[in-house]
Symmetry: C2
Subunit: 343 residues, 2 copies
C-alpha cells in the first residue's frame, strides 16, 4: 500500500507531458521553468497528490533533513520541554526529528546512536546518560553532534546546558540567607556531568561561608521519586536532621515530600525544601515548592541552532570551534522555604 500506489516524478512527468527534470525543477522551485509549464506541472502534481520520495532525494543529495535526538529519560518533563524546543526549531528549518529514549542505559544509548547513523541523520542532539563514556568518539566523522544537559567529561564539544554550577551556588546562598546551616543536598547519579556541576556549586557556597560541608548529608539518588523518598526517610532518622533540603531534581523532591508527610514533619516550619527543575504542579503544591527553573525550551532551541551551524560548516568543509553555551536559570521562591526555626 505504502508504495504500491505511490506516484513518482515519472508519472507526473508523463501526465504533464514534460520531462522528469522539469518536474524536479518545479518541485524544488528552482525558478528556471517558464510560468505556463510550471502551472501545468503543478496541476498534475496536485491531481496525483504527488509528494516526493524523501529517501530517494536523500540518497541523491546526501542529506536526509532528519535530526536525531537521544535523551536519558523521556519521562522527565525537563526533556519533554527540551524536545518541544528542538521540534519547533527543527520544523522551522525543514527538519524532522527522530526521538530516542535511552532510559538511562548506556548500551541502549549506543544502539540508538548507531541506528541514527544508519538512518544517516544530518545531525544528533544527545543528552548522554554517561558522561564518562567517550560517546563523542563514536559519532566523530559520522555526524555533527551537540550535547544537551549532560556533557562528556573533559572534552571539547558543542553543548548547550544550564549554568548548573552558578544556579546551585545561588540556591545554597539563598538557603544560607534564610539562616540554614544544616543543609542536605540530594543529587542525581554522579555519572551525569549535571549532577557533578551542581554538587560543586553547592559545595562552593557552603565553603565560602565556612559552613562545614557535611559529607553525610550529601546523598546520591537516581533522579526518581523512590530514591528521594528513601533518602528522606533515613535523613530524618539521623540524630541531627537537616533544617533544609535541596534536591537536584524535581522528582526526588516529590519523594522527599512524601517522606515528610509520612513522618508528619511540617514544611516549611521544621524543614525547608527546595528543588532543581520547575514543574507545573510545583506552584499548586501545598506548600508551593521553591524551585530553580531552567530555560528548558530555550535549551532545545539553542541546541538545534548550534547543530544547524555545525551541519552547515561540515558541508562547507570549514572547521568550527566547539562552542559551550551556558544558559541562566531562575530561582522561584515559594512557600516551601522559610527562615530557619529557632529551637
Amino acid at each position: 500500500m505504502t508504495k504500491r500506489n505511490a506516484y513518482t516524478m515519472r508519472d507526473v512527468a508523463r501526465l504533464a507531458g514534460v520531462s522528469i527534470s522539469t518536474v524536479s525543477a518545479v518541485v524544488n522551485n528552482k525558478g528556471i521553468v517558464g510560468p505556463d509549464l510550471t502551472a501545468v506541472v503543478q496541476k498534475a502534481i496536485t491531481a496525483m497528490n504527488f509528494s516526493p520520495h524523501a529517501g530517494a532525494r536523500g540518497l541523491r543529495i546526501g542529506k536526509t533533513n532528519i535530526l536525531g535526538l537521544v535523551v536519558q529519560d523521556i519521562t522527565n518533563p525537563f526533556f519533554v520541554e527540551a524536545l518541544r524546543g528542538v521540534e519547533d526549531e527543527a520544523i522551522k528549518h525543514g527538519y524532522e526529528v527522530l526521538v530516542c529514549n535511552s532510559n538511562d542505559q548506556p548500551d541502549l544509548e549506543l544502539r540508538h546512536l548507531n541506528a541514527l547513523y544508519t538512518q544517516r541523520v544530518d545531525g544528533v542532539l544527545l543528552a548522554t546518560c554517561d558522561s564518562y563514556a567517550a560517546r563523542q568518539a563514536l559519532v566523530r566523522d559520522r555526524a555533527p553532534i551537540v550535547f544537551i544537559d549532560c556533557v562528556p567529561m573533559k572534552a571539547e564539544v558543542n553543548c548547550v546546558v544550564t549554568d548548573n554550577y552558578d544556579s546551585c551556588y545561588n540556591a545554597i546562598r539563598y538557603l544560607i540567607g534564610l539562616g540554614h546551616e544544616r543543609i542536605a543536598v540530594i543529587s542525581g547519579r554522579l555519572v551525569h556531568s549535571t549532577s557533578i556541576a551542581r554538587v560543586e556549586g553547592c559545595r562552593k557556597a557552603m565553603q565560602e561561608v565556612n559552613l562545614p560541608v557535611l559529607e553525610e548529608s550529601l546523598r546520591e539518588g537516581d533522579s526518581h521519586i523512590e530514591s528521594g523518598y528513601r533518602i528522606g526517610l533515613t535523613l530524618f532518622q539521623s540524630p541531627d536532621p537537616p533544617t533544609a533540603i535541596f534536591t537536584l531534581n524535581n522528582r526526588m523532591a516529590l519523594g522527599i515530600l512524601r517522606a515528610l508527610r509520612e513522618l508528619q514533619i511540617p514544611c516549611p516550619e521544621r524543614v525547608s525544601v527546595m528543588s532543581f527543575d520547575d514543574a507545573d504542579w510545583a506552584e499548586v503544591f501545598n506548600p508551593s515548592l521553591t524551585t530553580i527553573k531552567q530555560p528548558t525550551y530555550e535549551i532545545g532551541k539553542a541546541a538545534v541552532e548550534l547543530l544547524l551551524q555545525s551541519i552547515q560548516s561540515a558541508s562547507d568543509e570549514t572547521t568550527l570551534e566547539p562552542r559551550q553555551i551556558l544558559l541562566k536559570s531562575t530561582l522561584c521562591a515559594r512557600d516551601s522555604t522559610a527562615p530557619v526555626a529557632k529551637s
Copy 2:
C-alpha cells in the same frame, strides 16, 4: 562530513576482495555465503565501521522501517508514557519512531502527516486533535494508520483507546456512592472523541440514579491548568456550589486545586476532587488525589502491535477488518474524595 567519509558496500567489497552482492548477503545474513568468506567480510565491515545506508535500502525495498507518531500535546504526560510504549515496542521490531507534536493545531497536524508521508514511513500512529476532521481520508492509500486516544467520529478505523465511557461511568458512581449529588464535571475540548465519550459516561451514571444532570455544572475546559483554575473560581462563586468535582484531565485538576487553595476551601472536607489521568505527583499531593489511571504504556504498545499487523496485511495485499481495542482503566481512590459533609 556526514556522507563524505561514509563507506559504502563497494568499499567493503573492495577491502574484502569480494563482490558487492556478497557483502549484501552477509549484511542481511541470508546464510548463502560460505563461513570463511563471511568472516572476511565481517572483518572488513567492522574495520571500516560500515553501516548500511538506510535510505538507499528503503528506496530499493520500498520500506523505511520508520513509524510516525503524531500527538496532540507532548507536554501531557499521558502522551509521553504512550510514546514510551510505542518506542519500546517499535525498537523490538526494528523500527524507529518519528515523533511529531501537533500542539492541538489541526493545520500543524496535517502538515506533520504530509511530512511523514514524504518520508514514506511504513505506518502512522495518530492522536488526532480534531475528531471531526476526516483525517483518515488524508492518509488513506498512503500508509496504514492506527489512531490512539482520540479517534475520528463515526468512522471504522484501527484504534486503541481507554474505555472512556465506562471509566467515567464508574467514577461518577463512586462519587454518588459517597453521597454526592451536586457533581461538577470539567471536560476537555469537545472536539476530542475522548472528552465526548467521558462526558457521556458521566451523564449515564447520573441519569441512572435520577440525579438531575446539571448543564451549568458541566463545563468545557481545554485540558490546561488555567482553564481548570478559571472554571474552579466561577464554580465556587455560584450560589449552590458542587460538593464534588470531576476533572476529565489531570492538569485541569491542578487548576481546580489552585482555585480551592486560593478560596480557602478545604478538600475533601467541603469538596471532593477527582481526576482522570494519574500522575506521579498525584499520590504525594496534600491531600493525595483520587484519580483514574489509564493503561497508558500499554496503549502505545498495543497500538504498535496493531499497526504492524496492518502493515503486514497491506504488503500481503490482504484486507483486514479495522479493529477497535478498548483498554480498561483503574480507579485509584485516595484522600481527595470523601463522603459528602452534612450541612
